[in-house]
Each structure stands twice: as structure tokens, then as C-alpha cells.
Symmetry: C2
Subunit: 223 residues, 2 copies
């Protein structure tokens, strides 16, 4: 059977898994899953009812970005995206957690929920105060990343890693919504341009989401 | 230098790391860190300003439960707490994520914030509606775990694993607050009694938190 990823195009966690697989040159069919509809067959696959879910060629199911990314690293060694030494791996995972918990809580979850999921789930208009607060937080995160990048080529050090993938997954979802002012994010722009021009990024830049139109520079590696 | 863990006694993530280290018979000095005070030296250790942070004997620092637990598994192989096969490891990690994200979001974060951190941070009284909602969710989670345990000895299968540790970390913090009605949680009581009577659990049962008094059965493995 074909390797299949159940996903949502703007979920940072699904983007992370897609980039991770593309870096390892693993093809997969993508199936969009409207998780808020609570489809019973999908709950059979993942009792948490959430994406990403990966079904491998042998039929085994992997639920959630944590289980999937660690599995991909263990099963498909090349290229390694966690680093070699214990210190390096801990730095990559620290930054992955930074994005998947701290950045998600403070920035990407509120913005995506207020702007995208409320509309898809038809549950009222966006709370603009929450969006404003999230954008303020985004500024602090951009500052922190810029600081890291003054002494590093990639976020976790000298090698491209899952830390860059996690960061770019969250940032690209916001960029799709036009929520990153690149003028005010000069410190990370060059790094993001490098990530965005990797072949693994191509399919993300072609995503379509009904009712949403990314800014013209979204798919352009020279922005 | 001594291995040191910066922690908070009722943080489920710190409890998870403490149990994990105790299962591997790794001793550590515990240092309580009032993260809401934003101590500058602590930010130097962990820019996220959060616990757990592990400083190893060689001085290396590991920030966040994700980086720490994966590091402990890689550095100290015995006993293995993630499982052997890819399927087994994915099942353990699926359940760890279940507790550290889903259960935390829906149950342990609101209850701990409203009941404990509001008081410690002196920011108003608890929102009893949020506590009520969280306790309702707790009921659904207990149901799901009970269902798993009808066909398994431990949460992820036939072996004690990080899934049991993650679950017990969240549940024990709530139990400290008297928020688990064991009469209504018969399906998980026997499993919890087994976890609670493990030597690794002992130090958690002796924790003191100023101004909070656990129910009499909290430290009793026969409850």
C-alpha cells in the first residue's frame, strides 16, 4: 500500500512531517482530514482525533508529530536531522519544543485558530485582541531567532536540522496568512530564504486552502 | 559536579523526568525554581525560562522534557523505557504526547493554573468554571485509559514504559490536589496502585508544597 499522511495544509505539525519526509526523499499520498468533523474512521486510526497521522507502506500507523518524527529518524537514517552528539541532539530537540509548544501557544495557535479554524468550523468571527497579542509575541520570537543566527548558520548550529524544519513549519503557516512583516524580520529573512529554497519546501508552497489567498511573495524564494 | 534538576514539585513534566531518572537509578539534586519570578541566571540556563532543566555531571545542560527524556533514553540504556520495535516506540510516544499535550491542555494545565499557580503568582482567585470543565474532561480521559487497560498490563502494552510515567506524572499532580475521585476511576485504580508502589515513585510522594496539603491517601500505595 502507498505511504499516506493524513494532514491539514496549514497545520505546523503536518508541515513539519511533510518537510521531514521530503528531506529524506520519502514520498507519501496526502489526505486532507477535516479533524473538526470527527469522522469515526479517523478516530479508529488516531483516538486523539488529530493530524498528522502517518500510515506506512506496511500498514503500521504513527500518530502525532512527536512519534512520527522520532520514528522517521530511527527508520530512515539519512540524512540525519537530529545531529550526532548528545549535546547537538538536545539543542535540536530544545528548539523543536520551543516551536511546537512555546511558539505554538503564544503565536501560531491563536493566529491560526482565530483566522482560519474559526472560519472552517463556522464558530464566530476572529478575536482581534488575541491576534494582536500573538503578533506582539511573534516579535519577541523573531528577536530570539535573530540572536541565535548571529553566531550560527542554522538554528541549532552548523547543520540544517529538525529545529529549522520546526521553525519554518510554524513561520510558513503564518506567512501564508500574510502575518510576517519581513521588513521587521530582517534578522531571520536570509535564513528563511535558504530554507524556503530547499527542494523539500516546494510542495508546501503550492498548497491551496479554500477561501484563503497567500500574499504574492509567499511562494517566491526571493522575497 | 553533581547532576542537578531544576524543577517544580507539581509540574507534570518535572515529575516525568524525576520518575524517568529514578527508574534508571540516576541520582540528582533537586532545585526548586519559581519560574514566574524570571530569575536572570535561570534564563541563561534555559532561554525558555521554564522547567525542567537538567544539568549533567559534565556540565552539559538539557532543557525541556522532550530533550531530557530522549537524552536519558539514548545515554542510559537500562532499563529501556521506550520499547524495542518501531511500533512499540511509536505507541509509547503517542501516549506520551497524549498526556503532555492533550491531557495537559484539557485537564492538568487548567487545574494546576487555577488552583496552584494563581496562588503562587498572586494573580486572583480560581475560575471555577474552568476547573469544572477540566474535571469533566478528566472523566473522558479516565474512560479511555480504562479501555486501554482492559487488554493491556501497562498503558502501551506488556511493558512498563514512559507512557505510564507520563500518565502517572499528570495524574499524581492532580491527586496531590485531591482532584481524582478514585471511586469513579476504578478502571485505572489498580494500574495506578502498581505505578505508585514502584520505588521510583517514593520521592514524589514526600513532596511538600507550601500552603497545599494532599489528601491522606495521596502517599498511601493502598488507597
Amino acid at each position: 500500500m502507498t505511504r499516506t499522511l493524513y494532514h491539514l495544509p496549514l497545520s505546523p505539525f503536518c508541515r513539519k512531517v511533510r518537510l521531514h519526509m521530503a528531506e529524506k526523499q520519502l514520498a507519501a499520498s496526502l489526505v486532507e482530514e477535516a479533524v473538526w468533523e470527527g469522522r469515526a474512521e479517523f478516530f479508529d486510526l488516531n483516538p486523539a482525533g488529530d493530524v498528522p497521522v502517518l500510515v506506512e507502506e506496511n500498514g503500521h500507523t504513527y500518530c502525532g508529530a512527536y512519534a512520527i518524527t522520532e520514528y522517521l529518524e530511527e527508520a530512515y537514517k539519512l540524512p540525519p536531522l537530529l545531529g550526532d552528539s548528545a549535546t547537538q541532539r538536545a539543542e535540536v530537540r530544545r528548539l523543536v519544543q520551543w516551536f511546537d509548544e512555546k511558539f505554538y501557544d503564544e503565536v501560531s495557535r491563536p493566529i491560526l485558530f482565530e483566522k482560519v479554524y474559526r472560519r472552517l468550523m463556522q464558530c464566530g468571527g476572529p478575536d482581534t485582541d488575541l491576534i494582536r497579542l500573538a503578533k506582539e509575541s511573534l516579535g519577541y520570537h523573531v528577536e530570539y531567532l535573530s540572536e541565535l543566527l548571529t553566531s550560527r548558520t542554522w538554528l541549532a548550529g552548523e547543520h540544517f536540522s529538525l529545529a529549522d524544519i520546526a521553525a519554518a513549519s510554524h513561520l510558513s503557516a503564518l506567512d501564508f496568512l500574510g502575518d510576517i512583516s519581513w521588513n521587521q524580520a530582517q534578522g531571520i529573512k536570509e535564513w528563511y530564504a535558504l530554507v524556503k529554497s530547499r527542494p523539500s519546501f516546494r510542495s508546501l508552497l503550492l498548497d491551496k486552502v479554500r477561501g484563503f489567498f497567500p500574499p504574492s511573495y509567499y511562494a517566491n524564494p526571493d522575497f
